[in-house]
């Protein structure tokens, strides 16, 4: 069976050029970059070259890039690292309500350690109002952290405006750009950010490589203490092949970005147009200010995981924010934050396209998706409406 990967926001296949670039560092050039003999020196050079191209992707200087093992690590590093570095200046942090767990959960941890956190709301499209951020600022505020683009609903935030507000007030501004960097232009100078998280596997690079951009002069406390790797700011033997892969993927992303955007945008629009013709299917996230390859919906009366399984049975691989499809068994807080009632959030589906997606894939998808919906609605007790479904809370029985 032909399979169609429509979950590029979860992770991506390696670009073949990326794997080629990595291979020598699994073989001959296996040395530790801190060593002063040939295989170590060459590994070190490779890491520094990768740093330069990774920096170039976001218009940063090489020394402003700290490699990490993932987006989640970089987000934890940013939040805890700035909080601990600036705790004598203040103890208030602002984040939005639609942050990724790897921002929200460190924020909650910091709340338990004596910091106060304000969670700024979003509108029905999932957009943060920069004015709300401005209003949340107190004399104690040391950090503002806002996601650039939501992996669940695709909405792109006005981070440039928020960056301007933060800069005016002299508050450190962190952006979680995991879902955006490498897919749309991200320029740390024009966005006015002090820290920015991104991850290689989101743009055809390897898993195991992420980065935190830290603007020159910004004080940050390490998350991983130890040796002098990454300028003493992130210890651990460097994962050389993954770092090399990130550098190569960044180089390719920069080169092909416009082409990729032009490729996925019309395909995504065809999905949205077709899906919105189905009864009781709505788009989630912003209709225009959204990731170019991102189409996300709520389908009423049926549940997301069941859709994913039937779609997978037809060779289409996608994602959902429903409680059943998450191992945490909770409806996506992002969908709740944009005002979608919990029972509707169960019908969430997310399709994300990539450079391998073809027009025929979309034809097949647009034919299959309504069938899957129809099939599940045949089984659903709510096929004709939600009557009798008003119980507002869910307590899991054990």
């Amino acid at each position: 069976m032909k399979t169609i990967y429509m979950d590029h926001v979860a992770t991506n296949p390696l670009h073949p050029e990326v794997l080629d670039a990595m291979m020598p560092y699994f073989r001959e050039i296996f040395g530790n970059p801190q060593s002063i003999y040939e295989p170590g020196i060459r590994a070190k050079e490779a890491v520094e070259n990768a740093r330069a191209s990774t920096a170039a992707l976001i218009n940063a200087k090489p020394k402003e890039i700290i490699f990490t093992s993932s987006g989640a690590e970089a987000n934890n590093f940013a939040l805890k690292g700035i909080a601990y570095a600036s705790r004598n200046k203040g103890t208030h942090i602002i984040v939005s309500k639609i942050e990724h767990h790897s921002v929200l959960n460190p924020a909650r941890f910091l709340e338990k350690s004596g910091f106060a956190v304000t969670y700024v709301p979003v509108d029905k499209y999932g957009t943060v109002d920069p004015d709300d951020v401005k209003k949340a600022i107190t004399k104690e505020t040391i950090l503002i952290s806002v996601i650039h683009a939501s992996p669940e609903i695709g909405t792109i935030q006005p981070v440039d405006e928020i960056g301007r507000i933060a800069a005016e007030k002299g508050i450190v501004f962190h952006v979680d750009a995991v879902a955006s960097a490498g897919n749309i232009p991200v320029d740390v100078r024009s966005l006015n950010v002090d820290l920015l998280t991104f991850a290689a596997h989101q743009f055809y690079g390897p898993k195991g490589a992420g980065a935190l951009y830290v603007k020159e002069g910004t004080r940050i406390v390490p998350l991983i203490y130890g040796g002098i790797q990454e300028g003493g700011r992130r210890a651990g033997t460097e994962n050389v092949p993954a770092i090399v892969g990130m550098g190569k993927a960044a180089e390719i992303a920069k080169r092909d970005m416009q082409k990729r955007i032009e490729h996925v945008t019309p395909l995504r629009d065809r999905i949205i147009d077709s899906a919105l013709k189905i009864d009781k299917v709505t788009l989630t996230g912003h209709p225009e200010r959204r990731l170019p390859g991102h189409a996300s919906f709520v389908v009423e009366y049926i549940e997301g995981e069941a859709m994913l399984l039937l779609l997978a049975g037809k060779g289409i691989y996608s994602a959902s924010g429903s409680a059943c499809s998450s191992k945490a068994l909770k409806a996506s807080p992002v969908l709740i934050s944009i005002g979608i009632p919990a029972h509707l959030a169960q019908g969430s589906v997310v399709f994300t396209l990539g450079e391998g997606t073809t027009g025929e894939d979309i034809d097949y998808f647009n034919e299959t998706f309504p069938q899957v919906i129809g099939r599940l609605r045949e089984i659903s007790p709510y096929a004709k409406g939600w009557e009798g479904a008003e119980d507002p809370t869910c307590t899991v029985k054990k």
Partner: protein
């Protein structure tokens, strides 16, 4: 993730549909949690002669619903009352642990349908 049996019952669920003239109806679950099962039974001489289901929920929930209808059909009411979460999971060659409690509502919905029938009879 799911056993072959689960995938079979999910992909080809047995006994799907409404039953307008049901003798008993039971609903269990909550759409806010993600899983709701509705079971319809026809009863004759204390025996389940027909059974249908409607389910809002994940793959496990649909498979469990299908399985419970297959198991219950032809049973006496007392036998059917003995169907449990774990006998259903066993019949499906197991369920992922996190699905055991949330999506395995088939027995409860069936028991409610039987109670509903008995209550109506009592009237």
């Amino acid at each position: 993730m799911y056993s072959e049996k689960v995938m079979d019952h999910f992909t080809n669920p047995r006994n799907v549909g409404e039953m307008p003239d049901a003798d008993g109806v039971g609903t269990e679950g909550n759409p806010v949690c993600g899983d709701v099962m509705k079971i319809f039974i026809k009863v004759k001489d204390d025996r389940i002669t027909d059974v249908k289901f409607q389910t809002f929920g994940c793959g496990a929930a649909i498979a469990v619903s299908s399985m419970v209808t297959e198991m219950a059909k032809g049973m006496t009411l007392d036998e059917a009352m003995k169907i449990t979460k774990s006998s259903l999971a066993d019949a499906l060659d197991g369920l992922p642990p996190q699905k055991m409690h949330c999506s395995n509502l088939g027995a409860d919905a069936l028991h409610k349908a039987i109670e509903d029938y008995r209550k109506k009879q009592g009237k």
